[in-house]
Structures are given as C-alpha cells and as structure tokens.
C-alpha cells in the first residue's frame, strides 16, 4: 500500500513536471512547480488570517448582539481585514529602549515561519500536497513546535514584565500540552497504522461518514474531543489564552509590538488555527471526503494514474469540502473563545497534567487493544462498516508476485507481515 500511495504521489508531481519539462526545459519546469506551490501556500498564509479575522469579528459581534464591521467593502464589511492590513503596514515599527533589539525583531519571523511551513505537509485534496511525506503527522508536529521559541524570544526580548510573564506562561503551557496533543493524534494514527496524511484520509472514504476515524471506535471519538481541547491550548486561544491574557497582562508577549511585526503574530495565530483544524479534519473527520461515497463511486481509481476530468472535478469538490470542514472547526474555536472565561494558570496546568495527559494515555492503550478485543469477541475488527484494511489495495504485493511468481506474495513481503493494519486485516476476516 505504501509503495502504491507513494507512487501515486510521485505521479501527481510527475505529471505537471513532465508536461512542463517538455515545454520549457527541466530546470525551469522544476522552478515553476516549486514557485507555484510556494505562491499558493503564501496566498493561503495571507488569505486565511484575513478571512478568519473578519469572520471572528462577525461571530463575536453576533454573540455579543452587535453587528460587527458593516461598512468597509459593502454590506458585510468583507474588506475590513484588508483595511486593517493597510493600517498595520503604515504604522511605525517601534522597538522599546529596554528591548534586545535584534531578538525583538527576529521573533515574529520565527513564529510566522513555523506556521507557514506547517502548510507544506498538509494535503488539501486527494493527491494534492506540496511536500508528500511518509510521516506527515509527525513532521507537522515537529514543524509547529519551534513556534514557541519565537513567542518566548518575543516575551524575553521585549524587556517588559508583562511580556516576560506571558512568554513564561506560554512556554509552560506548550511544554505540557504538546504531550496530550501528540498522544491524541496517535490514537487515530494507530487505528490506521500510518503517519501519512494521504493514506490516513484515503482509508476514510465511504458511505455516510462511517469510515471516518471519529466513528472507528469509542476511543477515537474521545480522542477527537481531547484533541479539540488541546488544540485550543496549542493555538493559545481562550480559554487557554494565558500568554496574552488582556485583563491581566495588557497583551502578554504582544505588549510591546506594533505595526507589521504585531500583525505577523496574528498571521501566525490564525494560520495555526487553520492548521490545527486541518489536522483534526484529516485525522478524524474524513479529510476531503464528502462522506456520501460519491467520489469512490464516480472515480474508483483516483488521481494515481494521471488526472482525468472527473478526477479533477472531484479534486476541486474535495478541496471545497476540506476547506469547509476546516472553517467549521475554526468557527467552533471562535464560539468557544467568545463563550468560555479564561482559566487560571494553575487550572491550565491541572487540566493538562492531571486530566488530559492520563486520559490520552488511557485512550492510546484502549485504541491499541480495541481491535484485538473486538476480534476475539465478535470476530470482526470494527463495529460498523467493513474492516479498515478492506479498502487497502495492495499493488505492492501484486508487483512482487509479478516479479517473483514462484514465491507467494504474502510470505515474501516482510513489511507486509509486520504492518499493524495487517494484524487487523489478516487476523480476522
């Protein structure tokens, strides 16, 4: 399976690359492709925050029985973020006299770089990802983690007590919340037996969302709730916005920032919100699948063997569905922010270390034993729907069988025997 999916990924890249190579030459085609990916992702880095900041203004206004922005750019004030952006760029770029100037100026870039790079490994629709990686889920965690360095540096370099307090809180929060975040992500990954986002989502195709990993077993469902909670903390939004805490710390680590550098932090925050929601969608909510099963019915092959018109249309449909699901989760984050009061720092730490951490450990153990227990009791590895492994196609094994016809394919492939999902698939059928 791995072999085939990776083939698919490379073909997807190879198709436009080969086309362009024939047109303009190899080197230029390579740069064009890379430039296109970069442009799209930077566009997303700009568009995501602009849209979500506008949305947040509207959502918070509605919750507080206000109208929010109504004038800039027509009835709904949709150009408000654009106006904000122009205002922020015009502002003077200040640094306090007590600050560590170089560090103060570098810090926002670290935060933005982490948020931006995380978009690289996110697949946006079937077969479309800037950097296909076998360990996407691990990689995205690893890419997001240095963002905290920027916040701590910002807080320290500002030379202000408010900022320092905010940064220290952020550091303490991040160091502890990273563990339940990773564990909650591990639970669905364990069900699938892969770290590759492409593959994780590929297995969630099917009718009525039954194959979505939230519904795969009760532990996944609980892990989804844990993940949502922890992801709120990891994007430092209320009720976990201790690092900024307007009512206590002025603006926390942001206190001394102004103008464009200040807005970089917000670019990063809203992009981070999107990224975290995207991870939740990919790992739990079926990624780009509508949950109606029409995609596999219309196009059973997928984009692996080159793009057809149907595949292309379905890819756009998938993109829309994916972005819609992500936006819904972002709206959920907004609703939570404008509904719940902020926790105290000791409550934040208690929530994480005394509750979320043990809960996620138990969920991990449960998810590991669930298919085995279920198999021994009922003879199947899943309660509803076909076993997850049934949707796996095995061209790798077929390829081997073709290359070495005298040896049975299953015996021949060692990786196959050891793969976690084959334990579920091969064990009980």
């Amino acid at each position: 399976l791995l072999l085939r999916l990776s083939f698919e990924q490379h073909r997807i890249h190879a198709v436009p690359l080969e086309f362009l190579s024939a047109l303009v030459g190899g080197r230029l085609a390579f740069f064009l492709i890379v430039g296109f990916h970069t442009a799209v992702l930077s566009g997303l880095l700009g568009f995501c925050p602009a849209f979500f900041i506008w949305l947040e203004r509207k959502v918070s206004a509605r919750i507080q029985d206000r109208l929010g922005p109504t004038r800039v750019g027509g009835r709904f004030g949709w150009a408000q973020s654009l106006a904000d952006g122009i205002k922020l760029i015009q502002k003077e770029d200040l640094a306090p006299a007590a600050s560590d100037r170089a560090m103060f100026q570098i810090a926002p870039y670290i935060v933005v770089a982490a948020a931006f790079s995380s978009l690289m490994v996110l697949p946006f629709t079937r077969g479309v990802v800037a950097v296909p990686s076998e360990l996407g889920a691990f990689l995205i965690l690893a890419i997001l983690s240095p963002g905290v360095v920027g916040v701590v540096l910002a807080g320290y370099a500002s030379g202000s007590k408010w900022s320092l307090f905010g940064a220290m809180r952020e550091a303490a929060q991040m160091v502890s919340y990273e563990i339940p975040l990773a564990l909650a992500m591990l639970v669905p990954l364990l069900t699938v037996g892969s770290l590759d986002f492409m593959q994780v989502v590929e297995l969630q195709a099917g009718f009525a969302g039954m194959q979505w990993l939230v519904f795969a077993n009760p532990f996944n469902f609980l892990a989804f709730i844990v993940f949502l909670t922890v992801s709120l903390a990891s994007v430092k939004r209320a009720p976990f916005d201790l690092a900024e805490a307007e009512s206590e710390l002025v603006a926390g680590f942001l206190t001394e920032y102004s103008g464009i550098r200040w807005s970089y932090f917000f670019l990063a925050e809203y992009t981070h919100m999107f990224t975290v929601s995207a991870i939740a969608v990919l790992l739990f909510l079926g990624g780009w699948w509508t949950g109606l099963g029409i995609e596999t019915w219309l196009d059973p092959v997928g984009p692996g063997d080159g793009w057809s018109v149907v595949t292309l249309l379905l890819a756009f449909l998938g993109l829309g569905v994916f972005l819609l699901k992500c936006s819904l989760l972002v709206i959920l984050q907004m609703l939570i922010r404008w509904t719940l009061p902020r926790l105290r720092i000791d409550q934040v730490m208690t929530t994480c270390l005394k509750y979320l951490l043990p809960i996620s450990c138990v969920l991990l153990l449960g998810a590991a034993t669930w298919p085995l227990v279920l198999a021994s009791l009922t003879g199947r590895t899943t309660l509803i729907g076909p076993p997850l492994g049934d949707t796996i196609k095995r061209p790798a094994a077929q390829l081997r069988a073709k290359l070495k016809p005298d040896i049975p394919a299953v015996v021949n492939s060692r990786a196959h025997e050891l793969a976690p999902q084959t334990l579920q698939v091969g064990g009980v059928r």
Binding site: H10, L135, G159, A171, L195
Partner: protein, 241 residues
C-alpha cells in the same frame, strides 16, 4: 544534473546557516542569544537531514532538540532574570579548557570523517529519488523479470527508492521491533528476529524516567529538608537503576 546542483546549493545555504548559528552560540556572551543561535543551528541541521532524505531524523531533530532548547531558554531567562542582560564572562582558565576540549573534539571529528571511505558511500547512493522511482516504474512495467538478476535489481531499486525518497520511517519502525533491514540484507535477505532497537530505547527511557523522578523529588524536598529523606532519595535513585 540540475537537481544535484540544486541540492548542492541548498546544502551550502543550510550548512552556512548552521555554522553561523554555531558561531553565534560561541561568540555571543548573552544567554538568550546563545539559545537563539542554538535554535538556528539545530534547525539548519534538521534541514540538512531532510536534504539527505532522512526525514524521520530531521523531524525528530526539530521536535527533540529545538524543543529541548526552549527549556534551556526558559532556564536561561529564569536564572538570569534579575538583570535582563545575563552576560557570561569566561575567565582565561575556562577559555583555555574550552579551547582544549574544542580542539580535542575537532581532532575526533577529523579522524572520524577521514576514516570513512566516502567514495564507496557516494557510489552506494548515486541516484535521486525521482530516478529511483523511474527505475522502479520501468521494472514494474517490464514483464520479463523472472530471473535472479532482475530480482536483485528490483530489490536494489526498491531499497534505493525507499532510501532516497526519505521513506525511512517504516524500516526504522520494523528495526525497532527487531527485524533489522540492513543486517538482513548483509545476511543474504534472511529474516532474523532480534532485540532490535527496542531494548536500548526502553533502557534509555527508563533512565530518563529515573532522572525525571529524581529531579521532581529534589525539587520537592527543597521545601522541608530532612537528612533521612535525602538518604531515601539516593536510595530510590540507585534502586531505579
């Protein structure tokens, strides 16, 4: 080819960033700046790993070392927060010792790098991931592959494709469980089960757990110091071993 040149350019960029970060660590006298330099250096090294298609190693480098540096940063800030400029002034003796240690380490590195037969290494990984995949594709499409030579070719192409495309996670996971890919290859493809990397990994994590518990105990015992309690602490520590 073009891709090789691009890789070379990327290598030089990342390498110079890493060296710049390392120089910032050594030359700066400011704890926080040192930590920031360390982050830059370690991040660039992670980039180098990625460039060498060792993406698991790269991700782990980012996760563990950059994360670890955050902790250093926090300690740096907390321990020097009295005066916001925590300067580190080394005495001449310390400088001499550091120079000596650095020189020894440099000699060790030179010796280690010199001991590797780079020509053989370069010959072992000659192709880019794309070429490897193309080779695999060609093998896949060619139907006439029944003889041993073709099998060996297919295996080699697959290994190369896996290695060059950075698909190191699966072999790593399997090695962790005791099936060592590379030793099996040397033994003529025979599958042998051993302890793999799991046992050393567990031993290390047990040590870390012991250290963690010890640190937590030390931090707690500071409040109410009793000599017997400290004795129990050391007892617990050695017992953990």
């Amino acid at each position: 080819m073009g891709s090789l040149q691009i890789e070379a350019i990327l290598f030089y960029i990342l390498a110079s960033i890493a060296v710049g970060g390392a120089l910032a660590v050594v030359l700066s006298q400011h704890v926080v700046r040192m930590a920031a330099g360390l982050v830059v250096c370690l991040g660039a090294v992670a980039g180098l790993f990625m460039l060498l298609h060792a993406d698991f190693l790269g991700a782990a480098q980012l996760m563990i070392y950059v994360g670890g540096t955050i902790v250093i940063l926090i300690f740096g800030v907390m321990l020097t927060s009295g005066a916001l400029v925590g300067r580190v002034n080394a005495s001449p003796g310390e400088m001499l010792g550091a120079l000596g240690l650095g020189g020894l380490f440099f000699a060790l590195m030179v010796f280690t790098v010199g001991a590797v037969d780079w020509e053989a290494v370069a010959a072992r990984q000659p192709i880019s991931p794309r070429d490897a995949d193309l080779a695999l594709d060609r093998l896949q499409t060619s139907e006439t592959s029944n003889d041993n030579q073709a099998q060996a070719k297919a295996d080699r192409a697959q290994t190369l494709a896996e290695r060059s495309a950075g698909r190191s996670t699966r072999p790593l996971g399997i090695s962790l469980l005791g099936m060592r890919h590379e030793t099996d290859k040397l033994a003529g493809g025979k599958v042998t089960a051993g302890t793999g990397y799991l046992l050393p990994f567990e031993i290390i994590s047990m040590h870390l757990l012991v250290v963690l518990i010890g640190a937590a105990y030390l931090a707690r015992a500071k409040q109410k110091v009793k000599p017997n309690e400290q004795l129990t602490m050391t007892g617990g520590y050695s017992h953990g071993h």
